[in-house]
């Protein structure tokens, strides 16, 4: 089998996966008791007939499988429907929120990577040193941290107590310059990066230690190469391959993990849209957001698989 058939096969295999995901998500959303019209039920002026009419208009009177097939038919043609809450096109709503999420996620990603890689490599090189122990302890704190609490504490210190940074939002109305946006970004992006910094750092360390044990590193040392060359030119390159997979997958997770950070800092991204849509049971928006999150995971998984098979000649296409 050659590379092209391998790629085609993998892409085709993602289709049933996405179908399965969409069935589960649609089922979870629509089969739970209650619905988007519950808000009207308690208003005395709304008659039963009026409610039935709204239901029919929204298509909610039909059996769930029929609704699903209709949703799927529209979704594959790029039609994500209209928000029940606002009546706006879902695609438009989400497109508006995307840049904010990518700005937050992207900054957190760069921050986490910039700290994790050097720290991971250093603590592997100086295994069992004070630096290694300190970093290990800090990274345990990092991935044990309830980030919503960290967010509250830092918000209270930096925004309320010292008044150094703004407590919420993306920019000051009437300002919006680069420095102003940077100040708004600082807290949420650092907080979002904490857990990833810790886990990527640990992973880099473990991966480096694995590679240090291999024969070709001993060969490199034996032929008299300097320690720097051995570590940075020989070991690091191979150690980074598994790290890249984890980092790529986590990036997809980071976009949906931003739910917490975005809500606390009133960051106008997709995560906050998700929580806002939860409150009105806005099925079309929730469904679209969940599918985007899942699609990102599947796509990145697929891409790393394919890149791997190109980079690493040992992997056979079967």
């Amino acid at each position: 089998m050659n590379l092209t058939t391998f790629i085609v096969k993998r892409v085709l295999a993602a289709v049933p996966l996405l179908l399965g995901i969409s069935i589960i998500l649609f089922g979870v959303l629509h089969l739970a008791p209650g619905g988007p019209l519950d808000v009207y039920a308690d208003i005395p002026g709304v008659s039963h007939e009026a409610l039935e009419n709204i239901k029919r208009e929204l298509g909610l009177d039909q059996p769930v499988p029929v609704q699903y097939v209709k949703w799927l038919g529209a979704a594959v043609r790029g039609q994500w429907g209209y928000s029940i809450r606002t009546g706006r096109a879902v695609a438009k709503d989400i497109r508006e929120r995307m840049p904010a999420t990518f700005l937050l996620g992207g900054t957190a990603f760069v921050l986490a990577l910039a700290a994790a890689l050097p720290l991971g490599v250093l603590s592997a090189v100086r295994q069992y040193s004070l630096l290694d122990y300190t970093f290990t302890f800090l990274s345990f704190i990092g991935f044990s941290m309830p980030i919503f609490w960290l967010a509250l504490m830092l918000q209270s210190l930096f925004a309320v107590h010292w008044q150094l940074l703004p407590s919420a939002g993306m920019y000051t109305i009437g300002d919006g310059g680069f420095a102003d946006r940077l100040r708004h970004l600082a807290l949420p992006a650092s907080i979002l990066s904490v857990a990833y910094m810790a886990s990527w750092g640990r992973f880099t360390r473990a991966s480096m230690l694995d590679v240090f044990g291999l024969d070709y590193i001993r060969t490199a040392r034996a032929k008299g190469l300097g320690e720097r060359t051995v570590i940075y030119r020989h070991a690091l390159r191979n150690a980074l391959v598994p790290v890249i997979t984890i980092v790529a997958l986590d990036f997809a997770g980071m976009i949906s993990g931003a739910v917490i950070t975005e809500t606390i800092f009133a960051w106008p991204g997709m995560g906050r849209l998700f929580i806002e849509s939860m409150n009105g049971r806005d099925y079309p928006v929730l469904m679209a957001l969940l599918m985007i999150g899942s699609f990102a995971l599947v796509a990145i998984n697929l891409i790393t698989d394919i890149v791997y098979s190109i980079v690493d000649a040992r992997i056979r296409y079967d």
Partner: protein
């Protein structure tokens, strides 16, 4: 005569060796002790505090009060003792963490064992199902489920547990795949052992170490998830205090009474940290290759 104490002094049993390795991980030992203390305190909560979790001191009504001798973590705006509420919150957090990790382990072990033991079509179907659940972002899915179902404590445990089995399933499957061809499995098969007997009596005990480690680590994950849900108001509902919903109600007083938010979060951090160190120690003990 053989000296019966000679056998006792010989530490070279499998468990004895594991125990020795565990004891060398000092942070894990301290963490275990801390978790035991926390659990005891949670169970004995009514005997440890003179207040009840919803008891109000009318004299302190209206504004939160700072920590004092009578109220070491202060009181909230309804005049309730914060320390007592944090103590009762431990009951929910620890219970949810432990029970949902057990459910996740149970489901994951069964799925992984069936997939790894039977292979072929069974393996294929189960692993594709695992892929599907793994490809849905966890936090939003849990928020949707518990936001829509408005669960009580036990339904919440079920939701968190049932969505956390995939890691264990993959782990157990790979363990079973490597055990499948071993001699003792072949021997049991030759003796006519049924599939279930071989899986759970012969193979499972050989995979218990890694399973124990992953269960421990998922306790920490479950505690974080529950507190995040309750923080958003989608988890356990007030007046039952949990560390998450205590943090939620502390938000309104953040600028004048930050100590209300400090303590519940600190307890979440320390508990999850202890659980993760314990998991690390257990890994050293049962999986010395790592």
């Amino acid at each position: 005569m053989t000296d019966p104490s000679a056998a006792m002094q010989d530490p070279r049993t499998l468990l004895g060796e594991a125990f020795k390795r565990f004891r060398r991980h000092r942070l894990a030992v301290v963490s275990l002790a801390l978790l035991v203390v926390f659990s005891l305190a949670a169970v004995l909560a009514p005997y440890l505090t003179p207040y009840t979790f919803d008891g109000q001191d009318v004299a302190l009504l209206g504004m939160p009060t700072p920590p004092s001798l009578a109220h070491p973590m202060g009181t909230d705006h309804l005049g309730r003792d914060n320390a007592t509420r944090v103590l009762y919150g431990a009951r929910v957090s620890l219970l949810v963490g432990l029970l949902s990790a057990l459910i996740a382990t149970l489901v994951g072990t069964i799925v992984g064992a069936l997939a790894g033991f039977y292979g072929g079509a069974t393996d294929n179907v189960l692993m594709r199902a695992t892929d599907v659940v793994l490809s849905i972002p966890l936090l939003p899915l849990v928020i949707v489920l518990s936001g829509f179902l408005r669960p009580n404590l036990y339904l919440l445990v079920l939701i968190i547990g049932v969505l956390g089995w995939m890691g264990t399933a993959r782990l157990v499957r790979s363990q079973f795949l490597s055990l499948r061809g071993r001699d003792f499995v072949e021997a049991s098969r030759a003796l006519g052992g049924s599939g279930i007997r071989i899986m759970f009596l012969h193979m499972l005990p050989n995979a218990l170490g890694p399973i124990l480690v992953s269960t421990t680590l998922s306790v920490g994950g479950a505690i974080l998830l529950e507190s995040a849900l309750s923080f958003f108001g989608f988890g356990v509902q007030p007046p039952t205090p949990t560390w998450g919903n205590l943090l939620n109600s502390s938000r309104d007083w953040l600028d004048i009474a930050p100590w209300i938010a400090t303590f519940p979060g600190l307890f979440i951090l320390v508990t999850v940290l202890a659980v993760n160190f314990l998991g690390d120690g257990l890994r050293d003990a049962f999986d010395p290759r790592m």
